[in-house]
Subunit: 242 residues, 2 copies
């Protein structure tokens, strides 16, 4: 093994592909870009690109994310970015051998149609998952894998706060869960579970924010330092319920 004979291996291209999720309008959306060139010119695809010579996959993913979304580097550096898996089927790209490391990222609801792709990415838009038509390459598969991974991770990690703005109400956090899982949760019980987990959320001492008009103003919370969710927050009956 590991012979390092220069002829012992085939040169591969290595790319990253990103499944960038947000919650908007009561639905889980994913960021898609329209391809400007062949193959799959005109088709929608996940954002991504080649690794630069001195970049790790994580670094490349953050760079691409900043380029495609127009978010500030500092913001992108703090986002939750999770490596999903690597797709290496020899025929996944019709032109050449490309191995792609897929990532999932979570962003809060953004101003609107995102940066209009400064480079060769002609168009970028948010699309509700499930309303994406066919995608280029094996991106439908990647998206499907990313979606189920995100759903499962909400159960035992704190990453749901990644979908929320810096300060949020528990109602907003709950609607993130309800949107991603597509289930209704009991508000009092949700509240208790979240507050019972040390470091999941921290109360913002100051004021309360209106929920958009009617109703009692809700207390504001920030994401806490915890990353794992020890008593897991299980979805009702669907799947991993106990």
């Amino acid at each position: 093994m590991k012979g390092y004979d220069p002829h012992a291996f085939e040169p591969f291209a290595v790319t990253v592909d990103l499944a960038v999720f947000t919650v908007r309008g009561g639905a889980l959306n994913v960021l898609l870009i329209r391809r400007g060139q062949d193959p799959y010119a005109g088709a929608w695809a996940l954002p991504g690109g080649f690794l630069l010579p001195r970049e790790s996959a994580e670094t490349a993913a953050r760079r691409e994310l900043a380029e495609e979304t127009g978010l500030a580097e500092a913001v992108v550096a703090a986002l939750h970015l999770e490596q999903l898996r690597t797709y290496s089927d020899p025929d996944r790209d019709p032109r050449m051998r490309v191995v792609s490391v897929a990532f999932a990222a979570l962003v809060p609801d953004m101003p609107e149609p995102v940066a209009e792709g400064g480079g060769d990415a002609a168009q970028a838009r948010w699309v509700p998952v499930g309303e994406t038509g066919p995608l280029a390459f094996d991106h439908a598969r990647i998206l499907s894998d990313a979606r189920s991974r995100i759903g499962a991770k909400l159960e035992y990690t704190c990453l749901a706060t990644g979908f929320c703005p810096p300060e949020f109400t528990l109602g907003e956090l709950q609607s993130v869960y309800e949107t991603v899982w597509d289930t209704a949760l009991d508000r009092p019980n949700f509240r208790r579970k979240v507050l019972a987990t040390p470091g999941f959320v921290e109360a913002v001492p100051g004021a309360a924010r209106l929920t958009g008009g009617r109703g009692k103003p809700a207390a504001l919370y920030r994401a806490g330092p915890a990353t794992a969710l020890h008593p897991p927050l299980l979805r009702p009956t669907e799947g991993h319920a106990q």
Copy 2:
């Protein structure tokens, strides 16, 4: 993105690295090979190797596994092989740019010192995790990631049977959990949980096997068709307990 300009990307070498685990002598062991060449000549490393031109990472991993362990192709094809993540730090290999897709595999206790590496792998042996000295490249990191992944996966999947021979007793299955988690489990409760999960194990109609001398002979079970463990089997207090 995805410009396909041949100069737009750097050629990378792509390898697979395997963390192959087994339970032997009351400890979790991992398969290591001693490197025959530089870099890290003489050091111990995880088995692995380059992808062939028309191979996916999964196919390459199974091929390498068969080569290193001497297991029959049919056996290897049925093993649980799980993609962990991809390691792509630009400096992880001192010679060149190598991106490595890491896998974890579970095998039952094997005859003994495994095939003596037919190729350039000088030596192969089982080593209890924690007694591996320093490893080549970033393999200590990979091994550590693999170990925690395996531990977590035992909670909510059925893959513990992968550590057992085709027919096993519930005592053997329990000792797999106890070895990997390094905790003691209550036998009656373990029994109930395992038997209450449909498809986890199936009773072998015929005889019972002695437990190696003393004690009441135990009933034999086979791995069932289930892969996920719905009421998860949580480890006591450590970590994901509820």
